[in-house]
Subunit: 365 residues, 4 copies
Amino acid sequence: MTDFIPTPTVAAPDIVRCAYVELIVTDLSKSREFYVNVLGLHVTQEDERTIYLRSLEEFIHHNLVLREGPIAAVAALAYRVRSPAEVDAAEVYYKLLGCRTERRENGFVTGIGDAVRVEDPLGFPYEFFYETEHVERLTQRYDLYCPGELVRLDHFNQVTPDVPKGRKYLEDLGFRVSEDIKDSDGVTYAAWLHRKQTVHDTALTGGDGPRMHHMAFATHEKHNIIQICDKMGALRISDRIERGPGRHGVSNAFYLYILDPDDHRVEIYTQDYYTGDPDNPTITWDVHDNQRRDWWGNPVVPSWYTEASLVLDLDGNPQPVVERTQASEMMVTVGADGFSYTRAQGDAINGEPAEEIGFKMGNQL
Amino acid sequence: MTDFIPTPTVAAPDIVRCAYVELIVTDLSKSREFYVNVLGLHVTQEDERTIYLRSLEEFIHHNLVLREGPIAAVAALAYRVRSPAEVDAAEVYYKLLGCRTERRENGFVTGIGDAVRVEDPLGFPYEFFYETEHVERLTQRYDLYCPGELVRLDHFNQVTPDVPKGRKYLEDLGFRVSEDIKDSDGVTYAAWLHRKQTVHDTALTGGDGPRMHHMAFATHEKHNIIQICDKMGALRISDRIERGPGRHGVSNAFYLYILDPDDHRVEIYTQDYYTGDPDNPTITWDVHDNQRRDWWGNPVVPSWYTEASLVLDLDGNPQPVVERTQASEMMVTVGADGFSYTRAQGDAINGEPAEEIGFKMGNQL
Amino acid sequence: MTDFIPTPTVAAPDIVRCAYVELIVTDLSKSREFYVNVLGLHVTQEDERTIYLRSLEEFIHHNLVLREGPIAAVAALAYRVRSPAEVDAAEVYYKLLGCRTERRENGFVTGIGDAVRVEDPLGFPYEFFYETEHVERLTQRYDLYCPGELVRLDHFNQVTPDVPKGRKYLEDLGFRVSEDIKDSDGVTYAAWLHRKQTVHDTALTGGDGPRMHHMAFATHEKHNIIQICDKMGALRISDRIERGPGRHGVSNAFYLYILDPDDHRVEIYTQDYYTGDPDNPTITWDVHDNQRRDWWGNPVVPSWYTEASLVLDLDGNPQPVVERTQASEMMVTVGADGFSYTRAQGDAINGEPAEEIGFKMGNQL
Amino acid sequence: MTDFIPTPTVAAPDIVRCAYVELIVTDLSKSREFYVNVLGLHVTQEDERTIYLRSLEEFIHHNLVLREGPIAAVAALAYRVRSPAEVDAAEVYYKLLGCRTERRENGFVTGIGDAVRVEDPLGFPYEFFYETEHVERLTQRYDLYCPGELVRLDHFNQVTPDVPKGRKYLEDLGFRVSEDIKDSDGVTYAAWLHRKQTVHDTALTGGDGPRMHHMAFATHEKHNIIQICDKMGALRISDRIERGPGRHGVSNAFYLYILDPDDHRVEIYTQDYYTGDPDNPTITWDVHDNQRRDWWGNPVVPSWYTEASLVLDLDGNPQPVVERTQASEMMVTVGADGFSYTRAQGDAINGEPAEEIGFKMGNQL
């Protein structure tokens, strides 16, 4: 892996937002059960091999494509750009980066027009498109509203070995960093980057990659997320609740991580904050801050650090996974080799000097 | 330990509900910070050594007395009875049980009149009273309402080595069992018992006792509980969040467990169900059901099983703690020696036979 | 009308709670659409002429019977009593009151056993029963939970011309008054009475009667009620939202009133308070207090005061409606002939003496 | 009034979002009581004549300036632009429009740097600035969070006689229309326009103007808004609740309108939807649709249509108010002269053809 991704000499495509994920699933009916019956996403269209799903407030054709295939993986992370011309811009931009690209005037999936897909410098299958079929926006179809209703696709999260390298590439592409996690040695463990006016359209999580860590859908309120847990309990699939619910330190959102039948991770997420000002303050968290990943100090389960979804190249083959060689967030923060603190040294609690306090040992056996 | 507590030949006192806890705390100002500034309980009265606190919707003098003393412990678990005569009935009842009793016409604490305290057959300091000073019920004082407002004292929870023995004693005392946890060998791990029309006024948790496992306050809604977590995060005392928030299997309530400065455990609890019918169905949970303690299958932290508050005898000395000799819920359900399941054997998931599935190993390191 | 209902010389039946309503509807399919598809009540059983419905947390056979008939009316307001013997007690009690009674060992409706129905002294068709078929309690069936889920039958509300007369009768029957509305001349406009430990099992509203003002179902949280409004908007039946949502002054509950296809009024209600103590304080509201019916001072729509459902005698014929001759709450509080105040005279606002302030004229044209 | 505002031949300033309102209040201590003690806005800075307030998640100096003066009015509606150069662009733009402008390098109020204020073509005092002091963003200060916490300034709402004229001017300025209200004769009654990715940064309401209809703050969830009502009830100022709470048809947001001590109207608002895509669908509502202003069909109080705040010219004198000569939304939709419908003609309800159904007469006396 090269250490540095050059900045192309042309303007980056004007990206509006993260728009949809194309997911390869190994058993379409099981995945349908999960995304439609359990999570309540709305079917725009479906056939024997493919289901096109959207969230309540979406007006483009879909936010999620489920396509049956032999290996569970991510076929595309698709961004919407501001105009048809920006698809051209994307194609030029990635060619200059030396990336393999593929352009299809009629789109790669139903409901999407002219689009370009690329194998990006980090190894991810990115798509850029503008043209899309408008469908009924279900915003006020409260007759269709389920208690855990998903209202928007919020973001992607990508695992990559070298976060600063990826961050520089995405900043060149026009993303801005809202938050990140670092240590005092200058290691970056994760970064959150946005185009739309939320905390992120995508995030980079340091780890073996390229892999997709998760995709996230937003709900209106916190009780909607709690209800998803309650329903998964009722369906006796609580073992598919991986982590949460909780309050993120980073992003301040209320969150939940669940696993689909292929172990693709889905986050349910609500109430981050506005980031649209040009000087929106970037927040840097100390990797040892025990509240960075969960504001309540609840532990991150190891699988959340280690497991992720394969991504495909443009031929549909899984990209090889490259090991992260920098420090691992899990290892530096948990257990015998790592440490975390609830209060920073020097924080006064009840008028007394604070000592450093580690993570909640009570949560471990 | 005797195996059997006899049934007195007189009528049990007519208990209305759990009413207040008298708690010995080692640093009154730290405890005040926790119960008043963090949790928002309302001060009815206070002096240098004692604080009388009540929840928003309470009209009796207090639900919690904090008294400074040398050893953190519980001085009394107090029940309100239906009339002054029932205090007499309680005194007679416990004398017949052979228990030490103490009667004080002017009460043991400010705001409470004629009362009897007993060292009950399980070793707990129970109080029974009817007379109490009425104070302003703050139900509609929304100007005083904090985001994590505690509106009622909901229940006590007591640790005792022999749950069936304790259950028989409490049923004689007029409590009815709403739910319990057992195994197929007939071991009882816990039982929930009520007088008022909720799931419990007290519960028995199998373990070394007599100790108080926790006391619980109710909020109006789930978001109130989430806010308490958020606030504890903001105050950088998230290490005092011991377990949760989550949804109980038993009781169906949304819950949180936090620790006060003396490690007295407080549960915040909302939305259990009506139990007032005489034939209210009792629910028995299998100890191996992974959703019994948390409907979402999130693990119970070990400290929650092992730690509890000492209780005092009528002289103010801690009661000796007797070890539980029956099977431990923690040991039979977690890790190498125990097991749990998410789905009962034979449950069909997605039309396929279910295998037994253990607890979430991902949560352990 | 006689002014006084004598107190029988036998013990009143021990009533547990309000349990179900038998409603006559003129078009069963329209009513099914409303109660099942819009409100999400659960069907226990149904045939061509009758539907038996229950709320989520109910374990008796039903809370609502819809029976098709020629005239929209209420056939029974049914209470559960504590034991089979209490049905006998009810029969004796009402015979001593000189009321017409009818006893049926196999019950009047499916799912209910031995019961007595009476034409009570106020002209209402009351039923008392103990025996009932237990059905699945759906408390944790979150897979069936709809966003506006109704979890319990909470109370009845009855219109009667002479509230003090009715109150005395219900107090004799063992009900206790939690709140009432009066004026300085001693006129009582309404009273709330309970057996279970909530604000009411039934209420008396002064007006032309006997008629049923409404029946009320409880939700878990306020957002569930808002969702019912949102869904009725989506279904374009917002004209069936009669009043609210709002916060009651009386009872402190968050509320909504909607109308079924026959104009039977249904309240959706959440978060009143515990009333189980023997000395639970009774709250008396001034009829001129603008926040008594809506804590936010929003006006009560006139139809809410004037419209109500007919009730049937034991032959199935509508009871004649007797006019209220005492002052009308609507007339004394609204418009040119009446007045209301937001602040009581003498209340200081911002340190300045308060003037009397009338209802919100802005709400009128 | 000219009928047409020409399009300047220079680029419009790049507006980021609505940022703050400068409000003239006649009694600063009463206004402080309202905005700080009742609504919980956070004081950035204050002196004897001026208070600078911000919402929880704000990082610029303020969202609201309260300045004591002789006449209650609006001194400025201030937008943040993307860079310092855009302040120049704004100045040029309005000079070309023939508007009076005033530039102050040190800003018009504390905490804001170089800014230009204009008397815009509709008569409103608009300000454009980029430079501002960053202050602590209180997003995770849950220890300061009140139950009705206001988290963002969401939008302004301006009353102007000729909505299409104003809309054309704002579209030239770079705003995009998300929703509007029209009738079949082509009259426009109101329009919602945005720069940030929400339904609006400002709206135009047809009426006598220039006046400010309201400013709006966002909460996280619906219960936060309900709590504001509850608190105003507790403070016995429910007569300052003008309209709501309710669900808007337009914008889909949950809303409340309250009045400050000078009758400046404040909206509390939550959960509209994402509008950031370039082809975000514009929604046009029929003025006769009874659910356009309140999705539940609750009536709009007349004062909401008729009352608004004066705005000042750059000398601090109130702008004269020009009467609207086009049809009035209030008159065409309410009462004897107007009409509304709940269901559009031809909508099938329960499988039967729908008739037109008017507004809820029950709400009127």
